[in-house]
Amino acid sequence: MQLDTGRYIAHLRVTQKALYAYKVDMSLSVLFTVLGFAVMIAVWTAIYAATGSTQIKGLSLPAIYAYFIVIGGLNFIVGTNIDDQMMNSINDGSIGTAMLKPIRYPVQLVLGTIADSFSLFSVPALLFFIAALAIAHAGLGLWQAAAFLAEVVMAFCIINLFGFLVGLAAIYLTNVYGLVSIVFSVISILGGMVAPLTFYPQWAQNILYLSPLPSMFYFPASTFLGTISTAMIWQSIAVGFVWILILLGIAAVGWKKMSIKVALAGG
């Protein structure tokens, strides 16, 4: 496949510019993420207070705070709205116009998400990460930072591939809000957004560690805070990489099959 870097940069720039134009929307997104994080802090503070323990499963309350602050930061940069974008453009027919550009539609989506995540929300994400390190009294070594960066990129790929597959379903289902909610709930519970996976039974952890779900939030957050072993980090990178290949394959085949029907879905 030919890489048209000039076109991609142009698309990245204009998408970024269009996103900056929605300043209120951007501010509300930041507020929404902060509120979500605040809810988790409140819930876990209540849990620790109710149990009267200083540690649960080896994690202190400040460690839990740090964990959820990292999750909040990750949410800024790996969160996706590809599914929403696809559903809307399929339903209103604008996907036809998008497909007429000399840039492949899936590439347009990826570039749009990169513009959204890594440029607009990288500053608040960075602030969250610094705050987490301060609360956990933790440092960040070079190896740890490199592993974290690799896991963030992998989380971005996996989450957006999931989003792409859900969006693709809009060709058949028209409205995928229900599916989006189900997928979000599964990711929240099993991906480490509502609790570190160490809180689950060992057998459940063993199964989950072979799935793509912990690569979305749990592994990057734990790597960042240094709460998992080096061996586990390598395993998470290996498993995540395999899942990216599998999901890419499914997405490529799915797009090839579904793009035949996509233009007529919008009229």
């Binding site: 000039g6 076109r7 940069i9 142009a10 698309h11 720039r13 204009v14 510019k17 269009a18 134009a21 929605y22 209103d92 027919g93 604008s94 036809g96 116009t97 497909m99 007429l100 550009k101 000399p102 840039i103 492949r104 035949i260 996509v262 233009a263 007529l264 009229g267």
Partner: protein, 334 residues
């Protein structure tokens, strides 16, 4: 002349659904029947480079499907199509560099950004050199009387201004073929004229091929050729003049009488009668007939005018005929 588009025996059918009637609203919404709709049925044609073709037909006749197949965003079930020598869906990205498309409501502009940003974006993705881009931009701004409008946010533009900017956006890379779907919808009269003149000039100066899907009769006037679809079949493919002849080789004659107008005359059909004025539809050849000459020479006729049957009349007559055929299940052949 080399062909811009060659299509042979194109067929496309869609699976669609309709809800079945049930006693309960909830059950009715669950029950539905699937059926296939033949959107294109054995459509063949070729378009030489530099021709303006009007693609006509009632809603659901297959125009959009055909346009989507020609632009490469839809696959035909069977048949052959080459656009600029390329297979539209296999070489979609290469073809995208050579064509321009304005799809009515779905614009190329960014709602919260000035149109100039979309122009600049297209300059980059279509790899137009800056100096060429500047020349083309000033050409289109001048021809379409855009002034500084394109520097405003799209959401602050009128529909007509958006339409003109969409047209510019689609043509800045000087495509060899431009597909226009209802390009003058919502556009004021001076802008409509400017758009039509620009299309004609692009065809003359640059040899651009235009495929124009429209319901607006004045837009059809700039086309050299008309392809008409009905229920996915091509029912007419000839010059605009021949369409007029085929469906309307007639003339309107308005007669003003000295006194009360007669209720009927033998050489034509009375369309309107009002006190001393009579409007007739007569065969073209009847204008110079002896009977007509005698009538016009008679002292009873004070004044008269002759006009051609316009395209809107022809099309509405044709569409009514097609509707009647659909209701009765009969056939209509041109």
């Amino acid at each position: 002349m080399e062909d811009a588009i060659v299509a042979g025996n194109l067929r496309k059918r869609f699976k669609t659904h309709e809800s079945l009637r049930g006693k309960k609203v909830f059950l009715a919404s669950l029950r539905r029947r699937s059926f296939y709709k033949q959107a294109l049925d054995d459509v063949s044609f070729s378009v030489p480079r530099g021709q303006i073709v009007a693609l006509l037909g009632k809603n659901g006749s297959g125009k959009s499907t055909l346009t989507k197949i020609m632009t490469g965003i839809l696959f035909p079930d069977s048949g052959e199509i080459r656009v600029l020598g390329l297979n539209p869906w296999k070489d979609r990205i290469r073809l995208a560099m050579e064509i321009g498309v304005v799809l009515g409501a779905h614009g190329q502009l960014f709602w919260n950004l000035p149109a100039s940003d979309a122009f600049e974006y297209n300059r980059r993705i279509y790899e137009v050199p800056d100096s060429t881009y500047q020349k083309r931009l000033s050409y289109f701004v001048d021809r379409l009387e855009l002034g500084d409008v394109y520097k405003r946010q799209v959401r602050q533009m009128s529909l007509g201004e958006q339409m003109k900017c969409n047209f510019v956006s689609s043509c800045l890379h000087m495509p060899k073929i431009v597909f226009l779907d209802e390009p003058t919808i919502g556009v004021d009269l001076p802008s409509k004229l400017a758009l039509r003149e620009t299309i004609s000039e692009m065809q003359r100066r640059f040899g651009t091929t235009f495929i124009l899907t429209t319901h607006i009769v004045e837009d059809i006037a700039i086309a050299e050729r008309v392809i008409m679809l009905d229920k996915g079949k091509k029912i007419f493919d000839d010059t605009k003049e021949n369409l007029e002849k085929l469906f309307g080789d007639k003339r309107y004659i308005t007669l003003k009488f000295d006194g009360r107008a007669p209720s009927k005359v033998k050489m034509g059909k009375v369309l309107e009668r009002e006190a001393n004025v009579l409007k007739l539809e007569v065969p073209h050849r009847a204008i110079k007939s002896r009977a007509m000459m005698d009538l016009l020479d008679s002292k009873r006729v004070m004044d008269y005018s002759v006009s051609e049957v316009d395209l809107s009349h022809i099309l509405s007559k044709l569409y009514r005929k097609l509707d009647r055929r659909d209701r009765t299940g009969g056939r209509y052949a041109t």
